[in-house]
Symmetry: C2
Subunit: 644 residues, 2 copies
């Protein structure tokens, strides 16, 4: 690893060391296409939607009630409701000047609720409430402080230090005093404070914040928390972070914790801790991740399942876990430079993060199932919905962590597209974008990326400004291209075939030079490891980075997706408007009184040949209630098993 | 339906009307074999085990604390802990005279805790506690009263009315006063009081108990309870009982409620309500039941999943749900006489109820998974275990409903073997047994059944005493014999082939006559309806009524059950000691960084041919920590899919 000398301050994550140096929101702009549309809706609809719902549900009002001394009887929402206000503030800060007024107004509401010693939480610590830190397992007080700190860091970096940043810093100082050496020896049931404190240390240069984050990481796994019904693995207190082999327990908790561990490892030069995080990520991606990049296969405790327990119909795949996975992957990419981390981030962004918000940015999936058997009913427009009912997107949830998390992620998304290092520029994610930065020697570089990725696979990179010396343009060749031919065309028109990983072009670039990457985004059948019991005998379709699904809206005569059988010996083809046509048939199994029978008995099933229309998974449930499946059963083998 | 004139009073369920008349514990004795062994262990080990754990955990002590006025600070266990004491008392009452002393001692402890108006609960209603019935959703007060009433009924019928029966009747009177017309309009979050009140009405002839039960059934489904995070279906308050099409929500709640609905329907002649229960049972058995008869596929809320959502690895299949399913099936069998209800009861008894207790009767499964991926660790011998960790049986649980439920079920099991009607005797379950009863005209019949079922399939019925007129012996021909040849041999040695359903032999029987039923219990491959996604591409083995499983204890070199691939084109065969040998192979899939790949790529897997030893599912995990699976993946099709 090397030292980073950041050129920009507008960075969600700003490690002082690492293989790659991130670019700020002032250095990369997304100018069109898939993500520009979603960022536009986020800025113009989602932020106001979140603010309105929090006002309506009383979550912002909690701060007023606290200041007015009536919180013990008037508090609304769950114990972590404060954090939603902070996440919205963070999103607004990254979004820029247009939200300065909103940020100031919300901050004015929060300020009087802070205790003189910096503690800030509307659910604990006042007369008539539970005592501070009396329920570290479930109280989420440090979690809320963490989101406050992240909002403060965002304000400092994106808009310049204001009142919010000051509140946040006072809260962080309080946490260090309360939980520092000799203080409360506990940790929070929900990790989050760790990444926040490291980022504040990066912003301020204050060692104590980093030390406190490292202390929280090291305390965990030694019985810091009380036993829980779900077991101590639920909040990762079963094993010390550096000894664990795989992520387990509550998925968001596990991923935030590991992101925090990477932050601490990078800042303290703790290579063993970084290696532990990489090892856990590898095992998790190899054995506990859905095709979409989604993580978490248990509804009961919103947790990872055992290895290869990935039932499509019970996929929890929480939106926030997808976001946390992108956060972790980004930190590992910066630390190591390895494209596999960007591969998972791409998959998760397109198939989890982009799936959550509706087209109008005013409703969301909390969980992202890969198989929906029943048409949902429209959720209420005027009250909160249960979080994991994944039939249709809902405007707000009783536990509503996902909408504000999507909002802050989309607001900071341009920062995840590219990096620089001593040798040049690395493009990790492909979008219509403009990039203006400088290399390690201070010489300026400007690029313009044009693509309709992921609809199309051609990515054109035009050099705007370039040093008068050779440098290296690195392009991630996605892992999903394994087995197909990817071509890179250099400014001279020379084409070469490149393999998954990183393609590098080192030369003296001139303004106007264009580099073209040709990624073949044709639909392909995908099958799963046979150890995933729940997808045996099925295939899925992926086209470029996009996972596809069948939706009942595209079937004739009110038929259901469970009737679909596809034929993987034939080829899926592009259909109109970004759809895919999969060869197969529709079956109608006969109803029986008992669903098990000897192998030599057969239940008749009527079949109709059909080419089944598939749509991108991220777009499902935008046409009203529908059934849906990603993994499609294959046509059964033609012959009857015969006894011998 | 006709009126029943019971000859025996020692009946767990004593409908006044119905197609069949049940026999009492004084009319049927189990004399040997599978169930005799389990009943012996139940009587000699399990009952004392339950009593000792409840004393140790303070659940019996709660009654002392209540009487001594210190319950508000000393209460132990969950809100429904009282009910475990009542279920144990019920088991002891059915078990007979040997437990009279224990019953009296426990009753002496309970008596002073009853309020003058009959209310009895150690968790509510005293100074410093929550008010009575202030939490009908979760408080379980009517549930506890229900189990108290069932214990009282058991005492009255099996041992003659004593103090326990008097307490129970006072409690029932209180319930009718408190929840009768003009009283509290609520219902209990956990159904149970309904069956109890009907049984008390049957015992006492008091109409008010029946009316109250009918009122509880009718109130449900009209928003009687508050909204719950799991949805109102969780406690069956989403739809009126008579309008529902299938069982849903918490499995034990759903099954107890439906059993209560059948009881009310039978006693009030409400054919529409009975038809609704039958319809829901049919849909549940056709689409929401595991091969074992187990019910409930969600851990999150211990509930039924959607239709065909039956993941083996997340099977909750709670022991108590199995017991409740037997209770419901028995009531439907008595009402209708249809053998399909006895078929499900048999399957559930052998594969769920018999699976729960260990061989020594001192540890239990709470949940009964059909697939265990990790070897469990031995649960603590000296403290309670989490309820759904299904790796190994545990001595006691924080929520410990199952051990006492198993105990009371085994204690009353002989009552489920046979019935009589105007025409003769019906044998529903096969066990070494002696039966002495009388037909409708009062003439005596005695039978002796000899069999080593389910190990062997020959059932010999010897007539001991018989009226000097023709009558009909009916034998259930299990549904699992579909497709194989079953023979019935009459006393003259005449053999005939009989089909699944009921075989009847009407003749003038003489003492010494022997009827022989030959059920071919050879192992057979079973496959599941293709709509059960989680078992696609797998088969199971059933031998007679027993479901089999592979256990890692039987694999070489520490191999794991997930390595097993079986070949359903070859025939499974009997192995030694009740095992089955299944033809197949062991595979070792290569580890990969990402578990999804295009269909035309192949992951190499080393394979070794092997005949895999299978054991009866009920016996698994009796040899220490093991992995286990019921559904075995089949060998993949021989050819690679090719594009065309």
């Amino acid at each position: 690893m090397r030292e980073n000398t950041a050129r920009s301050l507008v960075l969600p994550v700003a490690p002082t060391r690492g293989r790659l140096r991130p670019l700020g929101l002032d250095e990369v702009r997304i100018t069109g296409g898939f993500w520009a549309r979603r960022r536009h809706i986020n800025a113009t609809a989602t932020l106001a939607h979140c603010r309105d719902w929090m006002e309506r549900e009383g979550w912002t009002g909690n701060f007023r009630a606290a200041a007015e001394g009536r919180i013990h009887r008037d508090r609304r929402g769950r114990e972590f409701a404060d954090s939603e206000v902070y996440k919205l503030l963070e999103a607004m800060a990254w979004q820029g000047a247009a939200y300065d007024g909103e940020v100031a107004a919300l901050t004015d509401m929060i300020t009087p609720a802070q205790h003189p010693d910096g503690y800030l939480n509307t659910a604990f610590g006042r007369p008539g409430q539970q005592a501070r830190y009396s329920d570290l397992e479930w109280g989420h007080e440090l979690y809320c402080h963490g989101h406050l700190v992240q909002a403060g860091v965002a304000q400092s970096r994106a808009r310049g230090e204001g009142e919010l940043a000051k509140i946040a810093r006072r809260a962080a100082d309080h946490v260090c005093t309360a939980f520092g050496p000799g203080g409360n020896p506990g940790v929070c049931g929900h990790p989050e404070i760790e990444t926040a404190l490291v980022e504040l240390a990066r912003l301020t240069g204050e060692q104590r914040y980093l030390d406190q984050a490292a202390l929280f990481i090291d305390r965990r796994g030694h019985g810091a928390l009380a036993d829980a019904e779900f077991g101590r693995a639920y909040y990762q207190d079963d094993l010390p972070v550096r000894r664990a082999e795989v992520l387990r327990g509550h998925a968001v908790r596990a991923l935030y914790l590991t992101a925090g561990a990477v932050d601490v490892a990078v800042e303290t030069g703790d290579d063993a801790l970084l290696a532990a995080a990489v090892r856990q990520w590898e095992a998790t991606v190899a054995r506990r991740t859905y095709l979409t990049g989604g993580m978490g296969s248990h509804h009961r405790d919103e947790s990872f399942g055992d290895d290869f327990v990935l039932p499509p119909d019970r996929a929890y795949s929480e939106t926030c876990a997808g976001i946390a996975s992108v956060m972790l992957a980004w930190r590992l990419l910066l630390a190591t430079g390895e494209p596999r981390f960007a591969d998972l981030a791409e998959r998760t962004l397109f198939n989890v993060v982009a799936t959550s918000p509706s087209e109008d940015g005013r409703s969301f999936f909390y969980a992202n199932t890969l198989h929906r058997r029943h048409r949902g009913i429209a959720p209420p427009a005027d009250r909160v919905s249960p979080r994991a009912d994944s039939g249709l997107r809902a405007p707000w949830f009783a536990v509503s962590c996902c909408p504000t998390n999507v909002a802050r992620t989309l607001a900071q998304l341009p920062a995840y597209l590219a990096t620089v290092d001593d040798d040049g520029v690395q493009l990790h994610q492909y979008a219509d974008a403009e990039l203006t930065t400088s290399l390690a020697d201070g010489q300026g570089v400007a690029l313009r990326v044009r693509t309709d990725y992921p609809s199309g696979g051609t990515v054109a990179v035009r050099i705007g400004r370039s040093p008068a010396r050779p440098w290296t343009l690195s392009l991630r060749i996605p892992a999903w291209t394994a087995g197909v031919t990817v071509r890179l065309v250099d400014p001279d028109g020379q084409r070469r075939t490149v393999a998954p990983g990183t393609a590098q072009l080192t030369r003296l670039f001139r303004p106007g030079d264009e580099i073209r990457l040709e990624l073949p985004v044709t639909p392909r059948w995908i099958h799963a490891d046979p150890r995933i019991d729940a997808t045996r005998g099925t295939v899925a379709v992926q086209r470029g980075p996009l996972v596809y699904c069948a939706e009942s809206a595209d079937l004739p005569d009110g038929r259901d997706v469970d009737a679909i059988r596809v034929d993987p010996s034939a080829v899926p083809e592009d259909g109109p408007d970004g759809t895919v046509r999969a060869p197969g048939e529709l079956v109608a199994p006969a109803d029986t009184a008992w669903p098990y029978r000897p192998v030599d008995e057969h239940s008749p099933a009527a079949t109709d040949p059909a080419a089944v229309t598939l749509v991108p998974y991220h777009s499902w449930a935008n046409r009203g209630p529908s059934t849906m499946r990603v993994w499609l059963p294959t046509t059964p083998p033609p012959t009857t098993p015969t006894r011998r």
